[in-house]
Amino acid sequence: MSLLQFLNGLTFAALLFLVASGFTLIFGLMRIVNLAHGAMYLMGGYVAYAAASASGSFLLGLSAAVLAVAALGLVEQGLLRFVGGNELRQVLLTLGLALMLNDAALVLFGGDTFSVPMPAALQGAASFLGLFYPRYRLFVLAAGLLVLVALWLVMHHTRLGALIRAGVDDAETVQAMGIDIRKVFVATFMLGMALAGIAGALGGAFLSLYPTADSEILVYSLAVVIIGGRGSLAGAVVGSLAVAMLSTYGQVFFPELSYFVIFGPMALLLAFRPLGLFGRTT
């Protein structure tokens, strides 16, 4: 029982990390709170569902989702150019975009619940430690870990990563040193969107897709960032684990109020560290 719950929490955390890492990177570097992130996740899921059911290949669905969401991200970035510099206007613009995307998804896919078809190899349960556990969830956990390692390598061992880390702390100085920060912005935004697309495809197979899934994922991502602090990979990891575990165990003990449970620690944390665990002032 407890190991099962623990694994459920861990796999959910892996998925949350996929969504929230992109969200927190964009927030940290560009100061853009992308409220359309949840809608992007949902779009990614729907595209993956459509492509995977049409072609019969999960991998194809996944790539389609990544491409489609990255393309949507480019459009969003183009729109954001118009309101550059003003944080509040940017946020409200992404909010409007979120409403539009959500409605567009409703037009295209209706109100029914879908699941992205899983590849045959990942169906069924794996047995270990006297426990039967869905293979697919373990796969999501592995994917989350893989992305974590990849992101860490990018952030700490590539030029782009160094620029992103420098940009999170002080974008103006980076620009003053002769680096075109806008290119870094575009790259980060696309990276974040691609992660949202991946998360949509992976999450669409075990959380399923329905019209309000985007809001739920967005709230979880917000909670992760509020707990972890913006722009920090470690913060995203800790935040995802905290939110996923709380929500998983919350569902066991207070099934109807599980939403409320993630809110307690968030409140506590804000009282002591308004910028989150790993957040820094500008």
Partner: protein, 324 residues
Amino acid sequence: MTAATGADGLAVTASPRAHRRVGWTALVLAALALVPFVLPGYFTSLATLMLIYALLAMSVDLLAGYAGRTSLCHGAIFGTATYVVMYMTTTAGGNPWLAALLGLVAAILVGAAFAALAVRTTGVYFLLLTLALGMVVWGICQRWTSVSGGENGLRGVSRPALLADPSVFYWFVLAVGVVATLAMWRLVCSPFGLALKGIRESESRMRSVGYHTTWHLFLGFVFSAAMAGLAGVLYAWFNSFVSPSTVALAQSVKGLLMVIVGGVGTLFGGIVGSVLIIVLENVASSFTERWSMVLGALFVLTMIFAPEGIVGKLRSHVARRASP
């Protein structure tokens, strides 16, 4: 913002201008009171809805315009009051007036809890946090099916028998709205309201001058929540139905859009915004079901082309013409 101080900076003094303003207000109120006699039933109910949403928009503007804190949880506070009233009158079968009182109290309590968490943050963080808090309310209403009815919501007659007639109800909402508007107007003109404005401009400066800024923000937030709750109670009586979409983010977004369209920091702009958005919603939904799409597009376009709002845009246009 400079244009706004010219219009609302001077409090009521016994000047000819003030007399004229009182005259105009009386004229507008008289015209509003005549609505049920002149317009057919459907328009009266539309006007009632406009008054209710004007109250919500003004409550949002109290924080956004005067304290510089853009909130995305007022729809949830509004909806909390609606839920409480609907639950008390339908499931619990209580007295509608008592239900209204409890709804208002619930909104104030939720507002106080949210305020306690949110007043330490500013700017985008405030927006984010209030968004998350509002979503928690939505999540609870969606999942706590034994109380909230889940997706099906709660339905039933919640209005007191005294106000059953649509025209009477309209006058009641108008009267409540006028009193609430006056209260808000008094608040923003009072030293307390000026302190809020000071916090908007520079919180650190206000603190060093000796103001307890956190306490000011907290009280401002709770007052604003009470106004949103009042609107929510009236909405429950108006609609006789509540579902999770009443507390959803789109509700907060609608309130905020009304404020932005009407002009942030003008208080009465919220009334203009409410009228415009409700008219648009009704016109749009008569030939498309994609109201959410229209709302989103409106938001994007307003942010790109007229972030100071339609009233603000017109005012700056007029000002530019007057003084070349």
